[in-house]
């Protein structure tokens, strides 16, 4: 059971981070369907940091990994920002392109690195067994992961930022009614950039947390198996509000954790359900939840609509 709790918490952390990313982007008025790709890129940045820092002190590894994944996520998210904010491109196409590009680019880069180190190595795998240990503090059978704390802190920070600061008020105004924001002198483009860039940071972080959650190496050809989209489902289920997102993420995290630990849980392993079914569980649940909750969704009113200063 502790294992279930541990995995639930770590997967919930991933979902919270990425869903908060989506939340900031959408509150600024940009639908970020490219979170999946941002996660992959962030994960790659973090994984490489861990790979090259193996042996360094834990604090250095932790900080550098976080910084690397956040930074790569941020830079990558700029591709979305430029296209959707400045060039008013279709946010769905760009998001989809970023998802494909993320996996393809990460694969190409990792393979290039692997091949240059060893000409026979054509895999897209990065190993980080040792470095990963820096993140774990064991309390008996429960492995506490520093990322859980980071997530909690960021969750609180996100809440305060959205509801208690000038930035949050202005950000949400841009997602609800950009013309109103513009009329009182708020630079809608800048705020939308800020929203997308925050989503890049959080998405990138989510990526590294995800690939280190259950395993010690990652094959980048696989991307992040739809987790970016699960996070979007969490965000919708959480009605674009940080606290609700956290609760929704715990629920989804639980279902994701089941596929890792079901064999250790007496009743479940006795049922003898194929593991594939557990793999399918999060997607099924999210479809179901979306079907039941989307009808009265309170999405930011202006999301998905490029802002054009000239057109009024």
């Amino acid at each position: 059971m502790t294992l279930l709790l541990q995995y639930t918490l770590i997967y919930a952390s991933v979902l919270i981070l990425v869903a908060l990313g989506g939340c900031f982007s959408e509150h600024s008025g940009v639908i970020n369907l490219g979170l999946e790709g941002i996660m992959v890129m962030g994960a790659m940045g973090g994984a490489l940091a861990m790979k090259y820092l193996t042996g360094a002190p834990s604090v250095v590894i932790i900080l550098a990994t976080i910084a690397a994944s956040a930074l790569v996520g941020l830079v990558y998210s700029l591709l979305l920002a430029v296209a959707c904010i400045n060039f008013k491109a279709d946010q769905t196409i760009i998001g989809t392109a970023l998802n494909m590009l993320g996996t393809a680019a990460a694969t190409v880069i990792i393979k290039a690195i692997n091949t240059s180190a060893n000409p026979d190595d054509v895999s897209s795998v990065v190993q980080y067994i040792d470095a990963k240990k820096s993140f774990i503090v064991s309390f008996g059978r429960f492995d506490f992961n520093w990322f859980m704390l980071v997530t909690l802190l960021l969750l609180i920070a996100a809440y305060i930022l959205l509801y208690k600061t000038r930035f949050g008020l202005r950000l949400m105004a841009c997602g609800e009614h950009p013309q109103a924001a513009d009329s009182v002198g708020i630079n809608v483009y800048k705020m939308r950039y800020a929203g997308v860039m925050i989503s890049g940071v959080l998405g990138g972080l989510g990526g590294i947390v995800y690939i280190t959650a259950g395993v010690s190496e990652w094959k980048f050809e696989n991307g992040v198996v739809g987790f970016g989209f699960l996070a979007l489902a969490v965000m919708i289920f959480g009605q674009w509000k940080p606290t609700r997102i956290a609760l929704a993420a715990l629920l989804f995290g639980l279902f994701r954790a089941l596929s890792n630990v079901y064999s250790g849980i007496g009743i479940l392993s006795m049922l003898n359900i194929p593991s594939t079914v557990y793999n399918m569980l999060p997607y099924m649940i999210s479809l179901l939840v979306l079907a039941l909750t989307s009808k009265n969704s309170r999405a930011p009113k202006a999301e998905g609509i490029p802002y054009d200063k000239g057109a009024r």
Binding site: R166, R170, I186
Partner: protein, 525 residues
């Protein structure tokens, strides 16, 4: 207005020789506007005369090709709304710039939030807002959400937004369009108070009565050109309208007396659920429309008119009630069935419902009948030649003007011609019942006259017309009968020949209700 002897800087703001050109159109051609300190100055012009462009220039949203702006006699450069705000210029926009899911307080402080280390300090803001609302008699609840309060309250929020920023020059863009006559009176009073306190007010309008009532001076624009500025005390409504339109305008709509015929539309106890609120948008409404009469549903925007029309045309399902059309029960009929049966619908929002803007004019012309054998073969293919000749006939008959005729994209047409296209399409169906919702919204005087003539022609040909209007002038002149809606209910039936704007206003604001008295009478009809 008598202080002609004052110094040069008697003007709070001056816009001199402003010229703004858009590709293919000169929106402002050498326009001059001088606003004196403490005066209420009206800016009069039709839709499309260039008023909004001029204001956008003043707010730094557009940079003019030519001309200068002076504040207190000194030339200033306004690059963006922040510059305008720094100069103390504020504006209440025609479409409010309010974030619906924010509170009144949040909306007022947005952009000039009091903060400490980046954290919002709402307490200070609240105190200042309460002070201002006391001083100018602008009652608001700072914690209410915009989506929950009335349009009048929202407008007060907009005014408070300007006052909170200590603006000295206040611009009101068509502020009365959404208000009842009583609320308009209140607004006029507020404007007078503001000008007494030394604020300079620019009042943009095309409503002559209001300008005559409140303004000191009036500048007139026409088709992007500056026509002149007059002292309101020394002019007449007719003079102003001549300046605005360039010719004499008839205010009356000509129509012969006519006795209505058979009942075409019979609505009983109709209720429609609301999309936004828990309460129904339309509550238990009953009325009739007969052939050969124009019945007008009057009321302030958002009192259930839109939903009533959606219910009648089948766009939204009914919650309760029955609709009889020519004696036939169409309560559960589909949109298409109603349309085929002879109900035409000129929709409220021509861009949202009325047209497929990316379709050509001809494809828009057949929107209601593309499935008929004339346009679609048995195999399901479109008969393009027939569509073209049909569209050309309508274009000629209804004088719809466009760049390339039938193949013009609807998007590239002017608002008036888009509306004409819709009217052509809907009238050519030879409807027994025409439902026209705000058919003249945003159009110039010529187009308005044309549309009113078409409505009367429908009536004279013995068809029924249900007109939904927010424009007082239209409500008073076009219909044979007025039904007033307030909060989803019909609260009054009035005769436009005998009623007054004031009385109408009392019904529109819910202060009066003559339907309970009539309930017994209705039963026996």
């Amino acid at each position: 207005m008598m202080e002609v002897t004052l110094l040069e800087d008697q003007y709070a703001i001056e816009m001199l020789g402003i010229t703004k050109i858009f590709p293919g159109i000169i929106a402002n051609d050498d326009i001059t506007l001088q606003l004196k300190k403490g005066e209420i100055h009206a800016l009069l012009g039709e839709n499309g005369a260039g008023k909004s462009t001029l204001m956008s220039v003043l707010f730094g949203l557009y940079q003019p090709e030519k001309g200068v702006i002076r504040k207190d006699g000194k030339e200033v450069k306004i690059q963006n709304p922040n510059d305008a705000n720094d100069l103390g210029i504020g504006m209440v926009h025609q479409h409010f710039k309010l974030v619906e899911c924010f509170s009144v307080l949040d909306n007022i402080i947005l952009g000039v939030e009091p903060t400490k280390n980046g954290f919002l300090q709402k307490k200070e803001a609240r105190e200042k807002i309460m002070e201002l609302s006391e001083k100018y008699g602008l009652k608001v609840n700072p914690d209410a959400l915009i989506e929950d309060i009335t349009v009048g309250m929202q407008q007060r929020t907009e005014i408070l937004k300007m006052l909170y920023r200590d603006n000295e020059i206040l611009i009101f863009d068509e502020p009365t369009a959404v208000l009842t006559p009583q609320e308009i009176d209140e607004l006029m009073q507020i404007m007078r108070n503001l000008s007494k306190e030394g604020k300079s007010i620019l009042f943009i309008s095309h409503k002559l009565n209001e300008i005559m009532a409140v303004a000191d001076r009036c500048s007139v624009l026409r088709k992007g050109k500056y026509i002149g500025t007059v002292d309101v005390a020394n002019t007449t409504k007719e003079e102003l309208s001549r300046m605005m339109v360039g010719r004499n305008v008839e205010f009356a709509v000509h129509k012969e007396d006519k006795t209505p015929g058979d009942v075409i539309l019979h609505v009983e106890n109709l209720s429609v659920a609301s999309k936004i609120h828990k309460n129904d948008a339309v509550k238990n409404v009953s009325f009739e429309v007969r052939s050969g009469e124009i019945v007008c549903i009057a009321g302030i925007d958002g009192n259930g008119q839109t939903e009533l029309v959606y219910g009648l045309t089948g766009i939204e399902p009914l919650k309760a009630g029955t609709i009889l059309y020519k004696g036939k029960d169409i309560t559960h009929a589909s949109i298409r069935e109603r349309s085929i049966d002879g109900i035409s619908h000129i929709p409220e929002d021509r861009h949202k419902h009325g047209l497929v803007l990316d379709y050509s004019l001809e494809d828009n012309m057949i929107l209601q009948r593309y499935f008929e054998p004339e346009f679609t073969s048995k195999g399901g293919t479109l008969k393009r030649a027939n569509i073209r000749s049909y569209a050309n006939r309508l274009i000629e008959q209804y004088d719809v003007r466009s760049g390339q005729g039938a193949v013009t994209k609807a998007r590239s047409m002017s608002g008036g011609n888009q509306q004409k296209a819709i009217i052509a399409r809907e009238l050519d169906k030879k409807p027994d019942l025409l439902i026209a919702v705000q058919p003249t919204r945003g159009l110039d005087v010529g187009a308005i006259e044309y549309i009113h003539k078409q409505l009367v022609a429908q009536r004279d040909a013995g068809h029924a017309v249900l007109l939904v209007s927010l424009e007082l002038d239209e409500v008073m002149t076009v219909p044979d009968r007025i039904l007033v809606m307030y909060e989803g209910e019909i609260v009054g039936e009035l005769d436009p020949k005998t009623t007054t704007a004031e009385e109408l206003g009392l019904y529109m604001s819910g202060a009066k209700n003559n339907m309970h008295a009539q309930a017994g009478k209705e039963e026996t009809v």
